[in-house]
């Protein structure tokens, strides 16, 4: 008699537990507004990333196409996996002494792990992160970028 009673009480508790679970899923089914997090490809136009978002490393240029990088190479030394290469050149400065400027600031996006050490350690705050996050390209060579724009120069007073 006891096992008979237990058999039916087990069935009853089993069905009850399933119904409790289904009451939760049913609630979300009829109020889908609580579930949807982001409709990503649709909201692409007005999608705003957070200002600190680490999209990709950029060399910050101002309106006159000038940047703050003097090619010291601290970012290159701090990078754990060699994503940054700096090719510097020497040009005669105003006082006649040779002065170091960057020829190319090469950034390998495919190798970058976004640890942020280059941006943090830059002594002249020349580097920053952009909010760009759609990095997919069809060819690997497109991931090697030259960060200084053509014709750009260093802001005067940043040495």
């Amino acid at each position: 008699m006891n096992s008979f009673f237990k058999y039916f009480s087990d069935i009853f508790h089993g069905v009850k537990s399933l119904l409790i679970g289904m009451s939760v899923t049913g609630r979300y089914f009829f109020s889908p507004g609580q579930i949807v997090t982001q409709q990503y490809p649709e909201n692409r136009k007005d999608l705003q990333m957070f200002e600190r978002f680490k999209g990709e490393v950029i060399l910050i240029h101002d309106a006159n196409n000038q940047h703050r990088c003097n090619g010291c190479g601290i970012c290159e030394n701090n990078c754990p996996n060699g994503s940054i290469e700096i090719i510097s050149a020497r040009v005669p400065g105003e006082d006649g002494k040779p002065k170091r400027i960057i020829d190319k600031h090469i950034y390998h996006l495919g190798m970058c792990t976004f640890c942020g050490l280059c941006v943090k350690n830059c002594p002249s705050n020349a580097l920053g992160f952009s909010q760009e996050f759609e990095h997919a390209v069809f060819d690997r060579s497109k991931l090697n970028k030259v960060l200084n724009k053509p014709g750009s120069s260093i802001i005067k007073g940043v040495e």
Binding site: G14, S17, G21, V24, T25, T37, R52, P80, F114, C115
Partner: protein, 375 residues
């Protein structure tokens, strides 16, 4: 007439055969291959084959400076990345005898507990999915999204943040941080009730996890099963209690212990730990003191020659970091004692003479993260 030789022919139901579970099996949550010997559907023997995602992180650490090592530790146990970072930072600070500002300790502790919650959320999601409840997976990921947003705003990344650095944290917390954490706590306290309604009391889930994968306290200690899996066997092994670091000596929380020793008790430990983590965050979030977000460090960090060890409680057990330094800016040898690797060793013991379907439940209840096993 040729005599018929009676060879000992085994009956088909007694024959053992081998199948490979993985490396591309959904319930192994990564590239882990389990070579399972089966008799019928009874597991007789199990051999894990690791190495599919071995990256040589310990060797890579030997060429990196201490600030650079941080970003590699993110990639071991990616679900508790903040805690891994924290372990290395604590070790460097211990070796250099640096006192970090109190603000940093508060931030780190809050971040660690947020990490623990999101790790357990994802574990809950995938454990439910392994045992046939796909709804759990979506609900778990949905609620985890709130924590990822909080991190994205403060640290800049959602998943592998590299937020800690020796001496402090990379950036100060965002002005919205405290407000968002409050919103999260308020929301998640309601949502975790749903978790219990959907899975904890569910009859199918209970029958598949209760009494499955019995791990006695003696076995847990001898195999070195730490974290929620060890505490599910009533072994008090919480590093936050036994060797407190950062703010853990000053906050009040309970070490969750369960005595049933089965998969269900390991499940309940993690559910309770989410409440405890929220409790810890609530005690800290309003009292973050003002001050610097990083101590001043030298530009090149060199540890004095010697050996150093630091342990922390990660989301799935004890994480130990061991460094031998020869006084240079890179370590001479670096070794990580990762919880998942040790917890994997008990899988054979637990699943022996169980059904192969129970193996999925046992593996899920141990909460293995494969990159943490292989490093």
């Amino acid at each position: 007439m040729k005599e018929i030789v009676n060879l000992p022919v085994s009956k088909p139901e007694e024959e053992e055969y081998h199948i490979n579970m993985g490396p591309q099996h959904p319930s192994t949550h990564g590239v882990l291959r389990l070579l399972v010997s089966l008799q019928g559907e009874i597991v007789k023997n199990l051999k894990p084959h690791c190495g599919y995602i071995h990256r040589g992180i310990e060797k890579m650490c030997e060429k990196d400076t201490y600030p650079q090592i941080i970003h590699l530790t993110d990639r071991m146990d990616y679900l508790s990345s903040h805690i891994n970072n924290h372990a290395v930072c604590l070790l460097v600070e211990k070796a250099l005898e640096i006192e970090v500002p109190e603000r940093v300790q508060y931030i780190r502790t809050i971040m660690d507990e947020l990490t623990r919650i999101q790790s357990h959320q994802l574990w809950w999601a995938s454990f439910g999915m392994d045992l046939g409840g796909l709804t759990c997976f979506f609900y778990g990921l949905r609620d985890r999204e709130m924590i990822l947003d909080i991190w994205e705003e403060t640290t800049g990344s959602r998943f592998l943040q590299s937020y800690n650095c020796p001496g402090g944290v990379m950036q100060d917390i965002h002005p919205n941080f405290q407000k968002k954490v409050h919103v999260f706590l308020k929301t998640f306290k309601k949502k975790i009730k749903d978790y219990e309604k959907i899975l904890s009391g569910n009859v199918i889930f209970e029958q598949r996890s209760k009494g499955v994968g019995m791990l006695t306290k003696e076995d847990a200690i001898s195999y070195g099963i730490t974290g929620p899996s060890g505490r599910g066997s009533a072994w008090s092994c919480d590093i936050r209690k036994t060797e407190p670091y950062s703010m853990y000596s000053k906050v009040h929380f309970n070490e969750v212990l369960r005595y049933e020793c089965d998969s269900y008790s390991r499940y309940m430990v993690r559910m309770q730990e989410m409440y405890e983590s929220m409790n810890i965050i609530e005690q800290l979030i309003d009292n973050i003191p003002a001050g610097d977000y990083a101590a001043r460090m030298k530009a090149v960090i060199k540890l004095p020659a010697g050996e150093y060890y630091q342990r922390v409680e990660s989301a799935r057990g004890e994480l130990g970091v061991y460094v031998v330094s020869d006084g240079n800016k890179t370590p001479y040898r670096m070794k990580f004692r990762t919880p998942s690797f040790t917890n994997l060793s008990v899988l054979d013991h637990l699943s022996r003479d169980m059904k192969i379907a129970d193996l999925v439940a046992i593996g899920g209840s141990l909460d293995l993260v494969i990159p943490d096993i292989d490093r």
